[in-house]
């Protein structure tokens, strides 16, 4: 039982800028930023629900998203193509 994957590698996506309470696996520093889907990792039980002793099902598609460091940190010092890649669940992503 898994939700359908809505994004494909190469799609531009924005991470939701939300601050829900509880156990969340989306780092604060990346919320609100836009990146490109690098790959679909598969579908996994939602950790936010697992932390509440629930099943976490249906499984949620999990992506690796690539963000340019210079876009994430306004004072980043390094190359313009330096990047950070992060695993993010589909329900945290919207089409950019």
């Amino acid at each position: 039982m898994a939700l359908e994957a809505r994004f494909r590698p190469g799609d531009r996506v924005r991470v939701m800028n939300a601050y829900p309470l509880g156990h969340v696996r989306t780092p604060c520093y990346i919320r609100g930023h836009t990146g490109v889907v690098e790959r679909l990792c598969g579908s996994f039980a939602n950790p936010e629900e697992l932390a509440q002793m629930r099943s976490g099902l249906p499984a949620r598609p999990l992506y690796r998203v690539r963000f340019l460091q210079a876009e994430v940190w306004h004072d980043y010092r390094g190359r313009p193509d330096d990047a950070v890649e992060i695993e993010i669940f589909q329900h945290w992503l919207e089409k950019a």
Partner: protein, 197 residues
């Protein structure tokens, strides 16, 4: 306070660990020998497992392709027991250097590298390597040239990561065993390069 001698009280988390363990044993969920066996199992895994994988990839192009396509399957192909590991291997090239972190906690490919070093779990490393990777790598003595891009991999969810370092020059004709001795734990995390031959 002198009557306390060298006695040091348990920390909050040590006490929690002991209490939880004793409760689980009392309730028959697990037994003491099972816990000891699991701890022993975890202690017995070390970075030499990852080094074997790297050395094979350096000597067998077909294996390297399979490793980059499906890290877990490639480990199993070498006979490594890697339960529950979903491994993604990131290849260093002359253009891109990779480094691994878990900014949220301390996710680490324990099945391949053993227990993580303390610095990997430190707030300092976790908060800084994602924001100023070049400065952090320089503190490890690793200078990344300006023409090489850095990719930081934040293990935030279900995947685990290992860096496939570049094979050092001057190792032509070496067998896997000699090559594996050059592959350090830190070079598979991405904060260092393999030893020079």
């Amino acid at each position: 306070m002198s009557e306390l001698g060298n006695y040091r009280p348990l920390t909050y988390f040590q006490l929690m660990e002991i209490s939880l363990r004793e409760l689980l044993v009392e309730k028959g969920v697990v037994s003491e020998p099972q816990i000891e066996a699991t701890v022993e199992d975890m202690r017995s895994r070390g970075p030499e497992r990852g080094a074997r994988v790297v050395a094979r990839a350096w000597t067998d192009p077909g294996y390297k392709r399979r490793l980059l396509a499906d890290g877990t399957a490639a480990c199993e192909e070498l006979g490594l027991d890697v339960p529950a590991l979903r491994l993604i291997v990131m290849e260093n090239t002359p253009e891109v250097h990779n480094v691994i972190v878990c900014t949220l906690c301390s996710c680490y490919p324990r099945m391949l590298l053993g227990l993580p070093p303390d610095w990997y779990k430190s707030r300092n490393y976790r908060s800084r390597v994602v924001r100023e990777p070049r400065a952090v790598l320089a503190e490890f003595g690793t200078a990344i040239p300006d023409h090489v891009a850095i990719r930081v991999h934040d293990s935030t969810a279900d995947m685990r990561y290992m860096v496939l370092p570049m094979r050092p020059a001057g190792t032509e004709g070496w067998n896997e065993e000699r090559l594996a001795a050059l592959v350090t734990r830190d070079s598979m995390i991405g904060v260092a390069l393999p030893k020079a031959p």
